[in-house]
């Protein structure tokens, strides 16, 4: 396919979802759930179609090109165009976003149908799809951007969608407000990251004179030679943005809470696509990062530390989605490490495979939750009280309430198993290959990182085993689990498709073919050919198997008997497990170090300073005037003799002036 003919289609990756939004807003009410779902899915699907066409176009013209849509801003020497950058990197992201997105749209038709009824507001069905389409549009703007400004537009846009979807059930959650608070937390933490990105953008503009990728990257070596500090500042501020969006240390804290959103959202936004935007950004900006070794090291270590740190927390979680959330953070850490090391292809590779298997896991978890909700409602309808107590207290996401679902939901189990093993890095599933590429690269250049990542890989396998055991094996630990049933096809079909992708995704950059590398080297800066190191591969496989085995020994062999039984690790690890369960108390730490001091400061400013000092001064002047008036009034005492005295005083003053003149 000729590249020039497909290039003008590029804007439609954004326009189709926007069209979907408009149609659903205008006619959604009349169309009903089916119609809404179809329109939204179609919008995402068409977007995928366009991306696919662009990809086809790129095969014959891999260096890509840009499509100019309009001049967005022009003030003095600053111009920003809305251009669509079509190159292998952006199209790869488009394919992932739209592809996984379309599947999740379809899945959501079934999932949300049940969810809106379970939560008691069917009217919100449409809203969900509008938000979802909005997300696709914003994500497309992000990945198709040709300059940092448009990237930022999409960057914040996806943040907004994340906010909206986390708070989708804004009246639910602990105390009725927890979901809304989680959404707020996500937005604010992301804003902190965006702050970094903004500063980076300003720095770029003033040192490169432009925000266009082309111009900036081309000049990067020269600027770096003259002003290495500036490049370092740019890259590190950018890293702050990355840690926010991609949930790295220290700004990862919003992602676990973001699980308050409906499960498809967790799959699409908080696992497969949005959170990888940071990885994309670093990959895209390799030209900047590779100028400064220190910047690369920082990125790498942030990623590695996150990978290990999040993996530890995942060990202590009971919520099926929280486990996956920490797993996502950990896996994002792998990717960030990769792009930090300069192994951008490996990072992108892991990004793609992770999108498949993590989406699969989340959707699988969603299926499990649906099953449990169904079972719970079924049980409640029969009037038999579960041992968990009344309706409100029942948590369909708590793994302690599950168990034995392998038999109740067989299809879900099998696809979940594929996703889990891919995550654990078991050959020949996709996760094995992508993770191995990262580990191989690390082993060559950064042995310490390699060790850390391997440890993280071990823990990954371990918590995967723990989760599988707690959810699917053993006996049902609640009536809901006992009454769970398999989900409808609209839910399971996307699962199957994703399972296939998760299984064979490794082919994308199979050690012998390196398709992805050859594809991306046209748009990534400084791509080094990846090496397949057999020893590393074998070690990583061994580590993964060991993790699974240990996990199985602890959780699988002797399953939990009932929901209240403590975790088998709780006693042997004692305080350590408590720390894991409480996520190392990082939230509390932030609360104490940032949130509460800020609130106290704000209160100090609002009351004693603003109302007291500043307004007090203003009113004080007024009061002073009034007081002066009242006291001067007494001089006007009504006695005519006193008035004469005042006149005399005036005369004396006048004469004094004359005498002293």
């Amino acid at each position: 396919m000729n590249f020039e003919t497909v290039l003008p289609l590029a804007p439609w990756v954004v326009f189709f979802p926007v069209l979907g939004i408009i149609l659903n807003l205008l006619f959604g009410k009349r169309l009903g759930e089916k119609g809404i779902g179809v329109i939204a899915s179609l919008a995402a699907g068409l977007s995928f179609g366009v991306a696919a066409l662009l990809a086809l176009g790129l095969t014959g013209h891999p260096e890509g090109g840009t499509y100019h849509l309009l001049r967005w801003l022009a003030i003095g020497d600053f111009t920003a165009d809305w251009n669509f950058r079509v190159d292998t990197l952006s199209v790869t992201m488009m394919l992932v976003v739209a592809g996984v997105g379309t599947l999740i749209h379809i899945y959501s038709i079934g999932y949300m149908h049940a969810d809106v009824r379970h939560e008691g507001d069917p009217a919100r069905f449409r809203r969900f799809f509008v938000f979802l389409n909005l997300f696709v549009a914003a994500m497309m703007i992000l990945v198709s951007a040709d300059n940092f400004l448009m990237l930022f537009v999409g960057w914040e846009g996806v943040g907004l969608c994340s906010y909206l979807l986390i708070g989708f059930w804004f009246e639910k959650g602990a105390g009725g407000i927890a979901n809304a608070q989680a959404a707020k937390k996500a937005f604010v933490v992301n804003r902190i990251g965006d702050f970094g990105l903004l500063i980076a953008i300003f720095l770029i503009f003033y040192n490169f004179g432009s925000l266009d990728f082309e111009t900036v990257f081309a000049q990067a070596p020269q600027v770096a030679a003259v002003l290495p500090g500036v490049i370092l500042a740019i890259t590190l501020f950018m890293l702050l943005g990355v840690t926010g969006k991609s949930a790295q240390l220290p700004l990862y804290v919003w992602l676990p809470d973001a699980m308050a959103g409906p499960t498809p959202v967790s799959a699409l936004i908080h696992a497969a696509t949005m959170v990888t935007a940071g990885v994309y950004l670093v990959a895209r900006s390799q030209a900047l990062y590779q100028q400064i070794a220190l910047a690369q090291d920082v990125v790498m270590w942030v990623g590695a530390a996150t990978a290990l740190f999040a993996a530890t927390i995942a060990l202590g979680q009971y919520d099926i989605k929280k486990v996956l959330a920490y797993s996502t953070i950990s896996q994002l850490g792998f990717m960030v490490t990769a792009v930090g090391m300069g192994a951008a292809v490996a990072g992108m590779f892991h990004l793609v495979t992770h999108a498949f298997f993590k989406a699969l896991l989340f959707l699988g978890a969603g299926s499990v939750i649906l099953g449990l909700e169904h079972g719970h409602e079924h049980a409640a309808a029969h009037g038999s009280h579960t041992e968990e107590g009344h309706h409100a207290a029942f948590d369909p996401q708590d793994m302690r309430n599950m168990g034995g679902l392998r038999g109740k939901m067989p299809l879900t189990f099998w696809v979940y198993l594929i996703g889990a093993l891919a995550l654990a890095g078991i050959a020949p599933l996709s996760g094995f290959f992508s993770k191995d590429e990262i580990l191989a690269d690390a082993s060559l250049h950064h042995p310490a990182v390699y060790v850390v990542l391997t440890a993280a890989a071990f823990l990954t396998a371990f918590y995967v085993a723990r989760q599988l055991a707690m959810v699917f094996f053993g006996k049902p630990r609640s009536e809901a689990a006992a009454g769970a049933v398999e989900s409808p096809p609209v839910v399971t079909v996307p699962l199957v498709i994703l399972a296939v992708l998760a299984a064979v995704g490794g082919l994308l950059n199979f050690p012998t073919t390196h398709w992805l590398e050859k594809w991306l080297e046209h748009s990534l800066y400084g791509v080094q050919p990846a090496k397949f190191i057999l020893s590393v591969a074998l070690i990583s496989l061994a580590v993964a198997l060991a993790g699974l085995l240990v996990g199985w020994l602890i959780y699988g062999r002797k399953p939990l008997a009932d929901a209240r039984q403590p975790d088998p690790l709780a006693r042997p690890l004692n305080g350590l497990f408590l720390a894991l369960e409480n996520k190392w108390w990082v939230d509390e730490l932030y609360q104490a170090l940032v949130v509460r001091p800020y609130l106290r400061l704000a209160q100090f400013l609002a009351q004693p300073v603003d109302q007291g000092v500043i307004d007090g001064l203003v009113n004080g002047v007024g009061n002073l005037m009034r007081a002066t008036a009242q006291s001067w009034r007494r001089i006007q005492n009504g006695y005519v003799r006193s008035y004469a005295l005042t006149i005399l005083l005036g005369v004396v003053l006048v004469i004094t002036y004359l005498v002293l003149r």
Binding site: Q636, N637, V640, R641, L645, L648
Partner: protein, 99 residues
């Protein structure tokens, strides 16, 4: 006599008149003090009239006397009226209006 004799004498008269206005509570006495002040001014007029050998000063004094008479008429009528209303002419009683 030197001019300053008259000037200082008149200044003293004037000052004493002022003091009377300021210290006395009887409006009649205050009024008399005012007349004293007028007289002090008159003395200056007459003295300067002689000094310059011009009659205008003397004439001025004449007019001042006339207006003083007019003022006395009004002033005394006023005091009488007030006395009839309040049965006192204590100036310090006239301090309802203030502030």
């Amino acid at each position: 006599m030197p001019m300053s004799y008259y000037l200082i004498l008149s200044a003293a008269m004037f000052a004493i008149g002022v003091l009377g206005v300021i210290l006395r509570r009887n409006p009649l006495v205050v009024f008399m003090s005012l007349e004293l002040m007028f007289n002090a001014a008159n003395l200056v007029f007459v003295a300067f009239s002689a000094y310059h050998q011009i009659l205008d000063g003397d004439l001025f004094v004449f007019f001042v006397m006339t207006t003083a008479a007019a003022e006395v008429a009004v002033g005394l009528a006023l005091m009488v009226a007030i006395f009839r209303a309040k049965h006192t002419i204590d100036l310090d009683e006239m301090s309802m209006l203030k502030g």
